[in-house]
């Protein structure tokens, strides 16, 4: 497990170091460049947070909190201030122990999100992850809209070595889900994972369709724990917050899969989502291979956000 973490961390860092000129100069240099805590110092923090896609309003809130604590605790040293900032975001992003409970009980995972964020890929990876734990997994191909989505998921089912319940292109996704529940029951599956079509959160009819799917799952399969994961593209900016909010209105969203973090994007909008909607990031996607889905680790996330050099890296 420890090795796996290093591997993941290395990948995040190597992704960052590959950038021609790192977007974020690294908070270390910024903090060390200041001998006192002044306005310029706070401006630099603002820049780092905004450039990590945390968003200007959440950033402003974070900085106000920070200023208050600095005044209250009479902090004079920029380095100490830095640690305070990092720790508070880490603490906020911490997932908690109960987050992955569904992995260990009979459950159904509904995977939703806007177009192109990586839902089908994430479903495939999650299936692989659970299959590796010895679980019996069934997939429901409820994206009956996008051309070849079913074929794409079938390929993932094949890679993961799990069963798939498919629907004809153009079929009613709700009926696919209904059939999949029956199949999951009949086959005594541990986990049923439902892939759904990408939909923009401002399309009312598509959101209603999703609500219907959610209702079917909660009604037809009450014995299973219902886990609803919104997939967010890590490169998305402030709109991800709107997405999360809208999806949470049609389904009881229990977590986020933050994808595409193997690029240069930091996925900082997750901080805004956590603070505003209290929805935790549970998994992150860092590549196209089946094992490129990892449980979220707040420490690694915040380190990458600030591009903080850690002792682990210095050892190399």
């Amino acid at each position: 497990m420890a090795e796996e973490k290093v591997g993941f961390f290395k990948r995040l860092v190597s992704g960052l170091s590959k950038t021609r000129d790192s977007i974020v100069a690294g908070i270390d240099s910024i903090f060390s460049g200041y001998s006192s805590i002044d306005d310029d110092f706070y401006d630099e923090i603002e820049e780092i947070l905004v450039m990590g896609d945390i968003g200007i309003s959440t950033t402003t809130k974070i900085i106000e909190d920070l200023k208050e604590r600095v005044a209250r605790e009479k902090i004079k040293d920029p380095a100490e201030c830095k640690q305070l900032l990092i720790d508070s975001i880490k603490e906020q992003m911490d997932v908690g122990d109960t987050a992955y409970e569904f992995e260990h009980r009979k459950s159904v995972v509904l995977v939703i999100g806007v177009n192109g964020v990586g839902k089908t890929t994430s479903v495939g990876k999650l299936a692989g992850l659970l299959k590796d734990q010895g679980k019996k997994v069934v997939l429901a191909a409820a994206d009956t809209f996008r051309a070849a989505a079913g074929e794409q998921l079938t390929e993932w089912a094949h890679r993961a070595g799990v069963d798939i319940i498919g629907g004809q292109n153009g079929a009613d996704p709700a009926s696919v889900v209904y059939d999949a529940v029956a199949a999951a029951k009949a086959r005594n599956a541990d986990v049923l994972i439902c892939d759904t079509a990408g939909r923009l959160h401002n399309k009312k009819n598509l959101m209603e369709e999703l609500h219907k799917i959610y209702r079917i799952l909660s009604k037809e399969y009450p014995e299973a724990h219902l886990e609803t994961l919104v997939v967010l593209d890590g490169t998305t900016g402030q709109n991800a917050l709107v997405q999360a909010r809208q999806f949470a209105e049609v389904a009881d969203v229990t977590g986020i899969i933050l994808t595409k973090l193997d690029g240069t994007a930091k996925g900082g909008i997750a901080v805004a989502i956590q603070s505003e909607l209290d929805i935790p990031v549970k998994y992150i996607g860092i590549g196209e291979k089946i094992d490129d889905l990892q449980k979220f680790n707040s420490e690694q996330f915040v380190n990458a956000l600030f591009d903080v050099k850690t002792s682990r890296e210095e050892e190399e």
């Binding site: 806007v114 192109g116 996008r146 794409q152 292109n169 402030q238």
Partner: protein, 449 residues
Amino acid sequence: MAFESLTEKLQNVFKNLRSKGKLTEADVKTALKEVKMALLEADVSFKVVKQFIKSVQDQAIGQDVMNGLNPGQMVIKIVNDELVRLMGSETTEIALRPGNEVTILMMAGLQGAGKTTTTAKIAGKLKAKGRKPLLAACDVYRPAAIKQLQMNGEKQGVDVFTMGDKNRPVDIAKAALVHAKSNGYNVLILDTAGRLHIDEEMMQELQDIKAAVPVDQTLLVVDAMTGQDAVNVSEMFNEKVGIDGVILTKLDGDTRGGAALSIRAVSGKPILYVGMGEKLSDLEQFYPDRMASRILGMGDVMSLIEKAQANIDEEKAKAMEQKMKKAQFDFNDYLDSMEQMRNMGGFSSVLNMLPGVGSKMKDIESMVDEKDIARKEAIVLSMTPKERSNPDLLNPSRKQRIAKGAGVDIAEVNRFIKQFEQSRKMMKQVAGMAGKGRGGKRGGFKLPF
């Protein structure tokens, strides 16, 4: 998002200021502070915002405040003009080779940006212009990517060249060009796999394709919702592969789309098209002025106006206005106007484009019950043609029949007819007023809001 629009904000900031004359440094700075926030909320790159604010500030200080504007509005005008200028002052088209020479377009971008869908959309557009496009499936990595392109190509009636997923994309591109030349195609569009801009190997693949076939235009496909990373992505693609134009997708969402400005600023390449939906026809021209007001959070008023103009038949509109004035508006006209509304994408889509509506969308949406509208339409459709053109015919037994036909309660039919009569009266008044008010400016049909 729960933010007031920039216009509202500035109105508040400058509520008490009606200063005439020149913009003072204080005016400009106050206004630009709000502009900066608006741009950052819209996901414009932090660095681009900084530069932009600085250049506008230098321009704006000391400028005359135009008559009728307050200082805040004046700054907005300068900001807006500058944004439009930055995003390219006019719309640009994809340049095509003349006649039967094959124009080669290569699509490139991150995973999930919408390359495959956009490829088919462009092909459809070019086909409609009388071109003969061929699509080449060069994404050999993502499961079922080839199948997706084939299905989309089929829908558009455009041929797709594939060699399965066992060949190198470079070889597929070369073979596709040979195939295109010998079979009379004059546009070849290469659909490539999504890739990260920092993936050296995959970026090399695009360079190799470019070296192997004479690509005329490399089009970068970018998700309009992209955040700060848009700068890195476009910079790296431009540097490593070289891009000629940009296509912004998923703009039918509610993102402010600041990525458009970032991309323009760092790559200098024009944005050619915007993706506006999942239907293969949903690819539209890029209009810098509209994008500017969208990024600033001022609503997409221009788009609305144009959509209305394109979809509402001028003749019909004039006739309808006449009818409204004389209170001759009948149920046939009702059906017509519903139809026109639908052509514009339905009530919610029209509302969405109005400034200031964005955040209040939820309340308004609940007021516009699309099902209720459908029921009313069913009632009208259950009438005979005679009844539709002469509502006075409707007696109780006819109403009973209509209720049965529409599958609603007779009370609902009565309610609807009463409502209709009332709005007929109201229209007469409104139409009369409008006729006097507007000095004969294009007698267009006024939208009911």
